[in-house]
């Protein structure tokens, strides 16, 4: 029987939630010696990778080829030794494709590994990309800066990648990282533009539709957006949501028109509005929105969800999951109409990623 596995990255280690039926869940953890986990993924070979960054012992990629029973870690090559005075402060994002493991870092850089996470090579520090001259300056960064906060490989070629530089831009490369093109046309910002107005956008999360390569969604600092041309141009779809701000979002795995986002209060707290836990859904690509809260706490619930905190599996009756900054994980197997709490007392959650195995 296939098993659903949730990799839950927290401030105090990785946790694995497992279920045969997506109703009863068992939790294992903390794994990775309790290091803060910013992102964790399962590759096609069945290896778990976790991007970890310890305040004391630095950054390292942990890996397990037996579903978390045993672990190794390596950071060989994960540094900016000799590169323009850069310092690697943390690793924050992972992706696996074309037989490679990709790692995103702060200071902003992209690394890859061709030997399953044993050794790493620097692919690019995005030299020449607009904004590059300021984005590694601590004075220009938000607290907790993630640097290269997302990596989205394209299926057509290992040279074709999309990344997010936090607080700056979406960039594409089609030459393996030699050159980078901003992909922000149509986005709005609520602050003065930088010298090059093609960049200077705060993109939190990209959610491509798994069934239509032209359809992308994104949640950013000042709105929710849709693209119908593969992310070359963006159209705002925020109207009808309770706020512009949010981090986590997810595309429906089978329907290009359906998309989920979790609006947050844009103030300092960045928690769900009015203490009511809510996910918002559109079934018409952003023309209208429905609040989904059945089964979620509806008062005194000041929950935050970070950019990698929401995920959807690919089963026919697919599951949708999100993890909170207060350690709860919620799941829905009816497209968000109802929710159940499947973990209650984990450490603060940074990322949730689902896989179906077996």
């Amino acid at each position: 029987m296939p098993q659903t596995v949730l990799l839950v990255g927290t401030r105090k280690g990785l946790f694995i939630l497992e279920s045969d039926d997506r109703r009863d869940w068992k939790a294992r953890g903390p794994l990775c010696e309790g290091w803060p986990i910013y992102h964790a993924i399962l590759d096609e070979e069945g290896t778990i990778y976790a991007a970890a960054a310890s305040e004391w012992l630095g950054s390292s990629v942990w890996r397990s080829s037996d579903m978390g029973e045993t672990w190794e870690q390596s950071s060989e090559g994960l540094n900016y030794e000799g590169v323009d005075g850069l310092k690697l402060n943390k690793i924050s994002s992972l992706a696996a494709a074309h037989g490679k493991l990709y790692v995103g870092a702060e200071s902003v850089g992209l690394f890859d590994s061709s030997d399953g996470g044993k050794t790493f090579s620097l692919v690019s520090t995005l030299d020449g990309a607009p904004g590059r001259e300021v984005w590694n300056d601590p004075a220009m960064q938000p607290p907790g800066h993630l640097g290269l906060s997302a990596i989205l490989p394209y299926p057509d070629s290992p040279d074709h990648l999309r990344v997010i530089v936090q607080g700056n831009s979406i960039f594409d490369t089609d030459d393996g990282g030699k050159t980078w093109t901003p992909r922000n046309k149509g986005l709005r910002r609520d602050w003065p533009p930088p010298e090059n107005p093609e960049v200077g956008f705060c993109v939190h999360k990209l959610a491509p539709s798994p069934v239509d390569s032209e359809r992308w969604y994104q949640q950013n600092h000042v709105g929710t957006w849709r693209s119908d041309d593969g992310g070359h141009t963006w159209n705002e779809i925020t109207e009808g949501l309770p706020s512009d701000f949010g981090f986590a979002c997810s595309a429906h795995p089978h329907d290009r028109e359906t998309f989920y986002t979790i609006p947050l209060d844009p103030g300092h707290g960045r928690t769900m509005h009015d203490g009511r836990a809510s996910v918002w859904r559109t079934r018409d690509a952003g023309s209208s929105w429905q609040r989904l809260g059945n089964g979620l706490p509806d008062h005194d619930a000041h929950l935050g969800v970070l950019r990698e905190g929401m995920t959807a599996d690919s089963q026919d009756d697919f599951g949708l999951y999100f993890g909170t900054s207060t350690g709860q994980v919620y799941a829905s197997t009816d497209e968000g109409d109802s929710w159940s709490e499947i973990a209650s007392y984990l450490p603060s959650i940074s990322s949730v990623k689902v896989a179906t195995v077996g």
Partner: protein
């Protein structure tokens, strides 16, 4: 031989790493390099680019705060400490 004491949080990361190790090396940097030869990857846990000691890793040689360039006399006690923070 210097007696190098290591943070307990390192031990789960490296097979067979004891709490303290006898090392013969003229400086802290070379002592860490020797440990890295025996337990590959250990240097990266203590040092970042430069190399420089990570921000919250402190080294004391015979009770005096040191850095990577600090000399390690024969029979010195070298303590590598993951600094306490938070609360």
């Amino acid at each position: 031989m210097a007696d190098v004491h290591l943070p307990s949080t390192l031990r789960p990361l490296f097979d067979g790493l004891p709490r303290h190790v006898d090392v013969e090396a003229p400086t802290v940097l070379e002592a860490i390099a020797e440990l890295d030869r025996r337990w590959p990857g250990l240097r990266d846990r203590l040092c970042g680019e430069g190399p420089s000691l990570r921000r919250h890793i402190h080294v004391y040689v015979d009770g005096e705060r040191g850095d990577l360039g600090t000399a390690v006399p024969a029979n010195a006690r070298v303590e590598v400490i993951a600094a306490i923070s938070g609360g």
